[in-house]
Amino acid sequence: MKKTAQILFTGVFLLVLAWFPAATLFSGSETYSFFENRNLAPLPEPERENILSGAYFSEFEEYYVDHIAFRDGMIEAYTFFNVHIADKVMVNDIVITENALLPYQPERAADPEAIALSAAEMAEKYENLSAFTAANGGVFLYVGVPEQSSMLRDSYPSYMNNNGAYLDAVEEAFFQALDAAGVQSLNMRPVYEQSGDFERYYFVTDHHFNMHGAYVCYRSILEAGAALGVAADPLEEEELIYEELPNPYYGSRGRILYNVIRTPDRLGIYRLKDPLPYIRRDNGEEVDQIFFIPEDPKEKITYNVYMGGDVAETVIETGREELPDVLVFGDSFTNPVETLLYASFNRTVAVDLRHNTEKTIYEYIEEYQPDLVLCIRDDTAYLSTDGNGGF
């Protein structure tokens, strides 16, 4: 019995040792990791310098571990073990709570003076943009949206930091600064809070709002726009068909946890009951979809279903000259809003400055002369000059 056990044990061990290199050699060469949203390490070129310095071998290790067979399966198993067996509160920097998957937040000090200074500097940028928009015949509206971890901050365990004080201080200082600079703004937090059921506007597994949150945001924008003299009729819920996609939804945080936590999250969309003809061009190329839904209902989907994800420049023409034109720029929170917005305007121009380097937002305004210019950003980015805050 002893010998049989030894043969079985060493046999399995040696098989595993031999299987991984063989399987890695014969498996396809992936270059991108879906779950990590990053490019995988390339095979290093052996050169005299990197071999002598030892860098070649460490780069090879990076390459090998990135491409090893069954890598995603092993990381998923790690995640499953830590979530369901080790019962960890935080795995891969995601805090697991009953209501939501939230990011780990290192504490940020709420220094009122520094925040007020940054808020004033940001407000000045929007003031200039607002003045430029007005000079081109339009109105500017800043739309602030709470990010999921901000809106659901009470879900954090009491012993973990949620940066609530910092976010509140930033929000208060920023909207005060916008007011002081005469910039029109819309803060979605009180709108959601007044509904009394703000959790329904957010995904459990994603940092964005969901389609319900996007719809409320869309309605609020049109109401604010009307108050500023831009008359565009909002789509009523009766004009829309709400549809929850059957595909497994991989939210930004659920994706980091390989969706090993079962949640009720489904990605919803609002389709128009009466389809509206339009011409859509992404970076000059014609595109015939608003929603990017795979044919296979079992295929994984992400937030990229809305508008196909972040695109540098999208122009949608509906050929209704009597309606106003809108230009919207911002992060991916804009995407589900755009799926409704285009139906209320003649021309919708959507710009994501993170991906566009050819034209500035000022050049877009000058070129398209929109009636309404929207900047939609989430509250973790109010004071950020990166990406869409860097115009």
């Binding site: 019995m1 040696l14 949203n37 090879f60 990135d66 019962d87 935080m90 891969n92 012993y159 991916s332």
Partner: protein, 471 residues
């Protein structure tokens, strides 16, 4: 290259096993030597020359010592070998430390030479020294085959982090080993346990210890300070003993039988006992090559105390070129002296539980000194452990405990000889078939589960989601 890397586990290791067992017996040492040199070269190719030089010096010293018939000539060769070996170690490991302190002593600034420490130099230097000293003493025969001596010094399982294998331990096996299935299976199991200690326990505890030790110490709550010290105590145990397990296991898979390096040190009931169980190969090296030549305990009491102090000063400085390692050595040296003088006798009169607590506390404080960035940090950390103004558990403390509860429980279990207790329990089973089944199958299955988990943890350590998923 380290054992806990994918390149080692799924390229180097299967390749060396396959080739080793594929070639005729007479070429097997050659296979191990080539792979060992490649293993070392993967980390720092240019420093391979230093190791090869060390091998050459020790080889020639061994040969010369057997050529000379007079004691004085032999001694001269030995002294030269010691100077060259220790000179290299001192140059690479302590030059900057010495220059900085000389500068500080005479109030002028000496720019650091930024000398890079070759990996494993402390270990292979001590192995080389053990060879030449043993040859000088006539305790082992000289190795005339340079490749065998090169294999002894560079053998990849113990090359980087020990255990310090004495030449006398493997002299027979270097040229004439008998590998068998039983050894291979036992070695595999040992390797897996070592890998699991490193990947599942040490790295997890390391993350906790780093978070606490590298944070702001001046506001560190007492409970968090204790948790950090405990986590580091587990980290260093499982990191080091895990590596030793892997080294012993791999050695056994290739027919070598290295001596044990750890023997459940945290079950000790005195610091003296702890040092009989912790890093045994280093303690016994210092005992045989420093303590006993100095006279050991067969001298006057003051001289005996002096001998202990010298050994522990050297033990401290061997661990690193920093004053906190010196303090750490002095700290344990002082405790051992006190225990030798009278404390051990007192301890024997109190219940075992309190002796465990006594030993564990002193070991814990020792690790705080060892882990801290410098002496002042160590002092600050220790003072935070005894901060009197407890205001309820710190949130970070609660988080770390709740997040790592399973890991802490696993560490507690792995730090005590559970496997020995289980073996005894299985030995008491009366039914022979059931006893044999329990003796061989559950351990094998458990090992394979640990192996799977270790590989999963190893691969996950490279999981690197792009900053915050802004799709």
């Amino acid at each position: 290259m380290v054992f806990s890397s994918v390149s080692f586990l799924f390229l180097f290791f299967p390749a060396v096993i396959a080739l080793y067992y594929a070639v005729p017996r007479k070429f097997r040492a050659g296979v191990l030597l080539i792979f060992s040199l490649f293993f070392y070269a993967c980390g720092e190719p240019k420093y391979s020359l230093i190791m090869l030089l060390s091998i050459a010096v020790n080889y020639l010293a061994g040969l010369l010592m057997t050529r000379f018939s007079t004691g004085a000539a032999k001694k001269t060769v030995l002294v030269f070998a010691l100077i060259l070996n220790l000179g290299a170690l001192v140059y690479f490991k302590y030059t900057d430390f010495l220059l900085t302190n000389i500068g500080a002593l005479f109030s002028f600034e000496i720019p650091a030479l930024e000398i890079v420490l070759p990996i494993g130099i402390s270990f292979y230097t001590f192995q080389g020294l053990s060879y030449v000293i043993d040859v000088y003493r006539g305790e082992v025969p000289v190795q005339k085959n340079p490749f065998y001596l090169a294999l002894y010094i560079s053998l990849f399982p113990q090359l980087i982090a020990g255990p310090i294998v004495r030449y006398s331990t493997v002299v027979e096996e270097i040229g004439n080993r008998r590998e068998n299935l039983s050894d291979f299976a036992a070695g595999t199991r040992r390797f897996i346990f070592g890998l699991a200690k490193k990947m599942l326990l040490a790295n997890t505890m390391g993350a906790i210890a780093d978070q606490i030790f590298d944070g702001e110490l001046s506001n560190l709550p007492a409970e968090l300070a204790w948790l950090g010290a405990i986590a580091y105590s587990f980290q260093i145990l499982f990191d080091f003993s895990g590596y030793s397990d892997m080294a012993i296991g791999i050695g056994r898979m290739f027919g070598f039988h290295f001596l044990e390096n750890f023997d459940y040190p945290y079950i000790s009931r005195s610091v003296t006992e702890f040092w009989r169980r912790w890093h045994i190969s280093l303690s016994s090296w210092f005992r045989d090559y420093v303590y006993i030549p100095l006279g050991g305990n067969r001298v006057s009491k003051p001289r005996h105390i002096c001998n202990i102090a010298i050994v522990w000063l050297l033990t401290g400085i061997w661990h690193g070129a920093s004053w906190n390692f010196v303090l750490w050595g002095v700290y344990f040296g002082a405790i051992l002296i006190v225990e030798k003088l009278f404390l051990l006798k007192w301890l024997e009169r109190i219940p075992g539980f309190f002796r465990h607590v006594y030993a564990l506390l002193l070991i814990l404080f020792g690790w705080v000194i060892f882990r801290s960035a410098d002496i002042s940090s160590a002092g600050l950390y220790l003072s935070r452990m005894f901060r009197p103004d407890f205001q309820g558990p710190d949130p970070e403390f609660i988080y770390l405990l709740s997040n790592y509860k399973l890991a802490f429980a696993a560490c507690l279990l792995a730090a005590v000889p559970v496997s020995g207790w289980l073996k005894k329990a299985v030995g008491r089973v009366k039914n022979r078939l059931l006893r044999e089944f329990l003796a061989y199958y559950p351990a094998g299955v458990f090992s394979l589960v640990l192996f799977a988990l270790s590989v999963i943890y190893l691969v996950n350590s490279t999981f690197n989601p792009f900053i915050y998923f802004r799709f």
